[in-house]
C-alpha cells in the first residue's frame, strides 16, 4: 500500500465517520462537529491532490476551504444557539415547519 492510498483511505473513512455522526446526533453542536469532521476529510483529500497533481494552486484552494469552514462554523453555531431558545436540551428535529 502506498502512502497515497493510505491517505485516501483515511480520508474516506473520516468522511464516512463524519457522515454517520451527522445522521445520529440530535444535539445541534454535536451535529456541527460531525460535519466539521467531514469537511476536514475533504480538505485532506485536496491536500493530497495538491501533492500528486495540483501543485500550489490546489494547496491555495485548501486554504480557502479552511476559511469556508470558519464561515460555516459561525453560521452553524448561531443557528445552534438559536435552537437553545426553544428548549433547554436542544433537538434539531424541533426546527421543523414543514408538514410533509
Amino acid at each position: 500500500m502506498s502512502s497515497e492510498v493510505l491517505v485516501l483511505g483515511t480520508s474516506a473513512v473520516l468522511f464516512a465517520i463524519g457522515g454517520a455522526g451527522a445522521l445520529m446526533h440530535r444535539h445541534p453542536v454535536a451535529l456541527l462537529m460531525a460535519i466539521e469532521v467531514m469537511l476536514n476529510a475533504a480538505n485532506l483529500l485536496i491536500v493530497l491532490g495538491a501533492r500528486v497533481h495540483g501543485g500550489a494552486d490546489a494547496e491555495a484552494a485548501a486554504l480557502v476551504v479552511l476559511v469556508l469552514s470558519a464561515a460555516e462554523a459561525v453560521i452553524g453555531l448561531a443557528l445552534a444557539l438559536a435552537l437553545f431558545r426553544r428548549r433547554a436540551i436542544p433537538d434539531v428535529d424541533d426546527a421543523v415547519e414543514l408538514r410533509g
Binding site: 483511505g9 474516506a12 455522526g21 462537529m33 480538505n43 500550489a56 464561515a71 453555531l77 438559536a82
Partner: protein, 182 residues
C-alpha cells in the same frame, strides 16, 4: 510502502480514532476536545505531505479559532451539555449510510489508479503566488464571505419584533429644510 508511509501512519490512526471520539462522545465538551485532537492530527498529516502553509493554517485557523469557538459555545451551554439519545432509526441509518459511502469510495479507489509523481513546488512562496495570481478572485471573495457570515450570525440571533406599519405618509404642513423620511 514508500518513504512517507511510516510518518503518515500515526497521524492517520490518531485522526480516525479522534473522529470516532467526536461522533460517539457522551457530552459535547468531550466531543469538542476530540475535535481539537482531530484537527491537530490533520495538521501533522498536512505537514508530512509537504503542505506547510496549510498545516500552519490548520493549527492557527482551525484548532486555534474554530475549535476554540466550538469550545466556547459548548461551555456556555445552559444545560452543561447533556444530550438526547438518538432516536430509534438514527443509529442504524447512520451506520448504513457510512457503510454505503465507504463501499462506494473503496470501489472508486479500486477502479482507478493513482499516478506516482514527484510533488511540485508546494512551498509557501508558490502558494502565495497562486493565491494572488490564479486564485485571486476567489481569495478576494472570501472577505465578503466572512462579512456575510458575521452579519448572518447576528441576524439569526436577533429576535424580530413585529414592526408597526403606517399607511400613506402624512402630508407636510409647513416647509422643512431637510427631511429624511423614516
Amino acid at each position: 510502502m514508500d518513504g512517507l508511509f511510516i510518518p503518515l501512519l500515526p497521524g492517520c490512526i490518531v485522526a480516525i480514532a479522534s473522529a470516532l471520539g467526536v461522533v460517539s462522545a457522551r457530552r459535547p465538551v468531550y466531543a469538542a476536545i476530540f475535535l481539537l485532537v482531530h484537527s491537530l492530527s490533520l495538521a501533522a498529516l498536512f505537514g508530512v505531505l509537504s503542505a506547510a502553509m496549510v498545516a500552519v493554517g490548520q493549527i492557527v485557523i482551525y484548532s486555534g479559532a474554530i475549535v476554540v469557538l466550538f469550545l466556547f459555545v459548548v461551555t456556555l451551554l445552559p444545560t452543561g451539555g447533556r444530550e438526547l439519545a438518538p432516536t430509534g432509526a438514527r443509529l442504524p441509518a447512520g451506520l448504513v449510510a457510512a457503510a454505503a459511502v465507504l463501499i462506494a469510495l473503496a470501489a472508486s479507489l479500486a477502479a482507478g489508479a493513482i499516478p506516482v509523481v514527484t510533488p511540485g513546488d508546494l512551498s509557501v512562496v508558490a502558494v502565495g503566488h497562486a493565491l494572488f495570481g490564479s486564485l485571486l478572485v476567489g481569495f478576494e471573495l472570501t472577505a465578503p464571505l466572512l462579512l456575510v457570515a458575521i452579519i448572518g450570525a447576528v441576524v439569526i440571533w436577533r429576535r424580530h419584533e413585529p414592526r408597526t406599519r403606517t399607511a400613506v405618509p402624512a402630508k407636510a404642513t409647513e416647509p422643512r429644510t431637510l427631511v429624511m423620511h423614516r
